[in-house]
Amino acid sequence: MPVDSRRLQGPENANSYTLYLPNSNTCRGLLNDLITNDKKRKDGRGLSDHRRIYMKTGVVSQAKGSAYIEQNNTKVICSVFDPREIPRKSDYSVNGELYCEFKFAPFSCIKWRSHQPDAFEKECSLILRRSLEPAVCRHEFPNFQVDVYALVLENDGSALAAAITCAGLALADASVPMYDLVVAATLGIHGDNKFLDPSAEEESLCNISPPDGRSHNHGIITAAFSPAHQQMSDFAQSGVMDIECVTSSIEVLREACEIIYPLSQQCLLKSVTKVFKKKQTETKLDISSDKIEY
């Protein structure tokens, strides 16, 4: 890693204190820890329940459009800016471009993250772009690019899906022409268990191979979906699983997205009515009190 001279640097060989925690739970123990006997998770929801979602648009005053999403402890903020010319490009492009950046705040994960984007963040940026591109009418702004920045303030699992949903809202808030909103959901798979909207602990469990059991499946699937046209704009899977597991997950994820979609719509509706009301009161004021001297 090259030395970053533009930031203040800490010592080189610093380690997270979580490495020295005494417990070294086995995989099975961890699984028992996360799921109770009656198939309930640690926070009380069932395996196929989504966490409660809070969404808000118009959170960044300087941006053209912005949104904030909270799924329990997972917090993501996203902002979208005005189209600008594509830098370092000389030839004409018929379709506009999306520039997406996905970033974890240094303090958002269990381990401290460097300021420079690592491979995982770059991959997430790519997935973010892939999932948004099909939903945006890019022919409306040829030769221009729209910047989309997502920042994870706290990662308690499913951060990428939250960022995609949030970015979809922010794009709509920025009045970028779109075919449909984009919503996303994450599914964690470990053995026979399928965790919808996994928390950070469940995600780390899904990243390790289950002990000798009937099924070796484990991994994480994130899917972005546009319900109006029934289009899956992205499908990203990692880990190891058989094809039946992948195919059955598609339906689970689609259903989860169908549940999130009306929430996004309501959030947008709320922001629109708010703007509309504000406009009305402003107009009233204008007529009554504003006079300009020439």
């Binding site: 203040l8 800490g10 610093a14 204190y17 979580t18 269990i110 504003d290 300009i292």
Partner: protein, 338 residues
């Protein structure tokens, strides 16, 4: 300015003072009004097209007519401006924007705070790591503050390495931390020469609407005051480290510095707590850091000069604000219930 001729024709008036030239022309009342061209006083060529909407009463309306045109009023430059003494966001000249503080909301960080000053939002998260102390300072830990101005917070910033402003801010925060002595670095040492805490204090601006340094300092101090470090036992002979998260110690914060930024207009007017628009139009800025009831440091990166009395004015204003902010931070931390 490109515009249709019939719009340009009817009326215009020149307000001119201290080099700022404004033309107003409009048609049929309020709605059509408002292309004002603002020229930078110091020969910088044309600034952005700026619209001024103002009226005989004290209210000012901000309206976006075009994405590339922002709207604001700069009252002090109009001798005959009717709405004298009111700033674009409706507050009076010497007033600060409302401040809200939220602490401990980020669970993954050892300490965290979110500070809002008007629209400006800064998040501070503090992560602790373990490392061996420096050989030349064997009984001191590390405190690594960094101010991040991601492109998310304002269209001024582009992705890539940190901007100049971010670097200047980081250095300012680091100096403020070091000079005010609000954290004793020897407290962060666990076993001299072997193990010490590294506190990464990352300040991320989520919305840049002026007075960034004020928000950063408040957020940093509030976050530091919520830091709780797990207990660590270290065996010097076997180099075995054991961390227990059940027992946590609070970090001692000795001082609570508070920064207050003033924007300077026309070498004479001082506007406290400027917004982003005011900052870009101002001819300079000064940041005063107060600690308790004492002056800690004054940060004035160039710009128009200040007289002694003006500086005095700033310091006394900042003193009053520091008291208020400290009260606010105290309540926020109490509400955390510790």
């Amino acid at each position: 300015m490109r515009s249709r001729n019939n719009v340009l024709k009817p009326n215009f008036r020149i307000y001119a003072k201290t080099g700022i030239l404004c033309l107003i022309y409009g048609q049929h009342g309020f709605r059509q009004i408002g292309y004002v061209v603002l020229m930078e006083p110091f020969g910088v060529a044309w600034k952005d097209h700026v619209i001024f909407l103002f009226n005989s009463h004290k209210s000012v309306h901000k309206r976006e007519c075009n994405p590339f045109i922002t709207l604001l009023i700069l009252l002090q430059n109009f001798s005959s401006a009717p709405a004298q003494g009111v700033r674009p966001d409706g507050r009076s000249l010497q007033k600060f924007r409302p401040v809200s503080i939220n602490v401990g909301s980020i669970k993954t960080a050892e300490g965290s705070a979110i500070v809002k000053i008007g629209n400006t939002v800064v998040v501070c998260g503090i992560k602790a790591e373990l490392a061996a102390p420096k050989a030349e300072e064997p009984n001191r830990g590390y405190l690594v503050p960094n101010v991040e101005l991601p492109p998310l917070c304002s269209p001024k910033f582009r992705p890539g390495p940190p901007s100049d402003q971010a670097q200047v801010s980081s250095n300012f925060i680091a100096e403020t931390l070091a000079h005010s002595g609000c954290v004793d670095l020897t407290d962060l040492c666990i076993v001299p020469e072997h193990l010490a805490w590294v506190l990464h204090c990352d300040l991320i601006c989520l919305d840049h609407d002026g007075s960034l340094l004020d928000a950063c300092v408040i957020a940093l101090v509030a976050a530091l005051r919520t830091v709780k470090l797990p207990h660590v036992s270290y065996d010097v002979n076997t180099e075995a480290t054991v961390v227990s998260t059940e027992k946590r110690n609070k970090l001692q914060v000795y001082n609570t510095p508070v920064a207050t930024t003033y924007a300077i207009f026309d070498d004479e007017i001082l506007l406290p707590d400027p917004t982003n628009e005011e900052e870009t139009l101002s001819s300079g800025a000064v940041t005063v850091v107060i600690q308790g009831d004492m002056l800690c440091s004054v940060h004035k990166p160039g710009g128009s000069p200040l007289t002694e009395s003006q500086l005095q004015e700033c310091v006394s204003g900042a003193l009053k604000r520091a008291e208020y902010i400290n009260k606010l931070v105290n309540t926020a931390i109490k509400s955390l219930g510790t």
